[in-house]
């Protein structure tokens, strides 16, 4: 796939030269998804059917991607969670490198053995639909090997994978949960202001988690990919919440539970103590600042 074959403009168009898109979806969903997101064709043999035994190798490699991205201290997904909480109800989109053209040292780091062929996924975005609003999806895993394999120059791979995935899923509203001190905040904030549904989340394994939602548009997806032609309006920050300040998170949660509304208008900055400072702005009933 050449960049000139589709209208995508990103901060790293070379990704489309080096990698190929893939989609894991059960047969009962396939016709409801967009297999030419932004004109980028997903080859028929790169649409992986998780109910078929021939998919076993590729699905095992997704687990490797998950583990290498998040490491032993992360929240790795056992294969049964992949199956139950992604492949049956939702879908997985990402980019893959052809195993045959990976340099041998990189292949070893990806736990590939000599003679293996096919696709090695290097990014994935996992999402499942929500119950009431049509075309609303919850993203629960965004993995990228950009930092693990700097030699491949996969800068912005996570953002680009998420943007194209949401287009594949025909998503019109996205919900997600992310920790206040997670670098993933940089990725999610590229898509524009994010409204906060929670600021302190005991329902999650990490209570210092925020839950966000945003309305998906092509313009915001292009912004997420780093299209130089798109500039999103962002309200100025009114205050900041530090990524290591649970009291501030709990105070904000109290205000959310009392009916006040807030957005995270842009990316965090890093304070002198090394902790993230996450910008926050109050909005009114209509979502205006």
């Amino acid at each position: 796939m050449s960049v000139s074959d589709h209208p995508l403009r990103t901060r790293n168009d070379a990704i489309f030269e080096r990698l190929v898109p893939f989609l894991v979806t059960a047969p009962w969903h396939r016709d409801r998804l967009d297999l030419r997101p932004f004109g980028l064709a997903i080859a028929a043999d790169h649409v992986i059917d998780p109910t078929h035994t021939r998919s076993e190798t590729f699905l095992r490699r997704l687990s490797v991607l998950d583990r290498l991205t998040f490491g032993p201290e992360g929240m790795p997904m056992p294969p049964w969670v992949f199956y139950h909480a992604a492949e049956i109800p939702g879908a997985i989109f990402g980019f893959a490198h052809r195993v045959e053209t990976l340099p041998e040292p990189l292949a070893r780091r990806l736990e590939l053995t000599s003679g293996e062929t096919g696709l090695m996924p290097v990014s994935m975005y996992i999402a499942i639909p929500t119950r009431a609003r049509r075309r609303s999806w919850i993203g629960h895993n965004l993995a990228s090997l950009n930092r693990v394999l700097p030699e491949l120059k996969l800068r912005r791979l996570a953002s680009i994978s998420k943007a194209v995935a949401l287009k594949v899923f025909r998503c019109e509203r996205q919900v997600g949960a992310v920790q206040w001190d997670s670098p993933a905040l940089f990725v999610h904030s590229r898509f524009g202001p994010l409204e906060l549904l929670t600021a302190w989340t005991p329902a999650h394994a990490e209570p210092a988690t925020l839950t966000y939602e945003w309305v998906v548009t092509d313009e915001r997806l292009r912004s997420g990919m780093g299209d130089p032609g798109v500039t999103l309006p962002r309200p100025p920050a009114e205050f900041e919440v530090a990524g290591n300040d649970p009291a501030a998170m709990q105070a904000l949660q109290t205000r959310i539970e009392s009916g006040e509304r807030f957005v995270m208008p842009g990316p965090p900055t890093r304070g002198e103590d090394g902790a993230f400072r996450v910008p926050i702005t109050q909005v009114d009933e209509s979502g205006r600042t």
Binding site: T51, W80, H84, G90, A91, R131, L197, A203, H204
Partner: protein, 252 residues
């Protein structure tokens, strides 16, 4: 719905951010609120009690991200004060807690196709101790969850020997989608789809023409091969001493 099991209250853990349902239940728990935490602790404790021995405990983040936010966790509960001491101890109910204690739960996830829901996790306390909850509680919980959410089609993935399959099978014929599932941690897992009937179990099933035992991995692989070659099969009736009964709808 509350009359389904006398003395038990139905509950839904469900996010209001996804729009409203006119849910018929006694307790509605909002996972976006801090005060939901004690009940969510009990949800997780029930899962640990039932699933612990098979190492299939759902991480708390997966309950939140993959069930409570997009779908629901529904089940039956009893007030803490009405539970025997040994049940409160088993469930690790805090001494001052006065709210409902879940005795069963089904985590369900909506699917892309409107009306279709995936039954993700099922747990009921009778699997820990038969005297702690009615024996058909798991099946009643699945039915209550799916019907409460307006589901027309259910999906599930369960190991061939799982008690959850025994709960599902009497509800309706289960269209087999996989019989041997390497994508799952336990390949001896079947995936199925079924109609959510107004009166579950009333539909007449055809007689079984073949049987698959939980440990018959060769048979499960042959059946999977048949599915991948275009064959269609249904699980019919409750599992018996010979295994799970199947009806061949069409040959590969």
């Amino acid at each position: 719905m509350d009359a389904m099991h006398e003395g038990l209250d139905s509950f839904f853990v469900i996010s209001p951010s996804e729009g409203g349902f006119d849910l018929d239940c006694r307790h509605r728990v909002d996972p976006l609120r801090v005060d939901a935490s004690p009940f969510l602790d009990l949800i997780q404790r029930l899962d640990e009690l039932v699933k612990g021995p098979v190492d299939r405990v759902l991480p708390r983040w997966a309950f939140y991200d993959c069930a409570e936010l997009p779908g629901a966790v529904a089940g039956f509960a009893r007030q803490a004060r009405d539970l025997p001491d040994h049940t409160r101890m088993l469930m690790k109910v805090a001494p001052r807690y006065q709210g409902p204690v879940p005795l069963s739960q089904a985590a369900v996830i909506p699917m892309v196709e409107p009306g279709s829901w995936h039954v993700y996790v099922v747990a009921s306390l009778d699997r820990v101790d038969a005297g702690l909850a009615p024996p058909d509680l798991a099946a009643a919980t699945i039915v209550m969850a799916l019907r409460g959410l307006g589901a027309t089609t259910g999906y599930a993935a369960v190991p061939w020997g799982s008690p959850v399959l025994a709960a599902l099978a009497p509800l309706a014929p289960l269209e087999l989608l996989t019989a041997w599932t390497p994508a799952h941690s336990e390949p001896a897992t079947m995936t199925c789809r079924f109609a959510v009937a107004a009166e579950p179990g009333r539909e007449t099933s055809p007689p079984a023409t073949m049987w698959i035992a939980p440990d018959d991995h060769d048979g499960q692989r042959r059946l999977q091969s048949g599915l991948e070659s275009g064959g269609r099969y249904e699980v019919v009736g409750s599992p018996g001493p010979d295994g799970v009964g199947l009806h061949e709808v069409s040959s590969p």
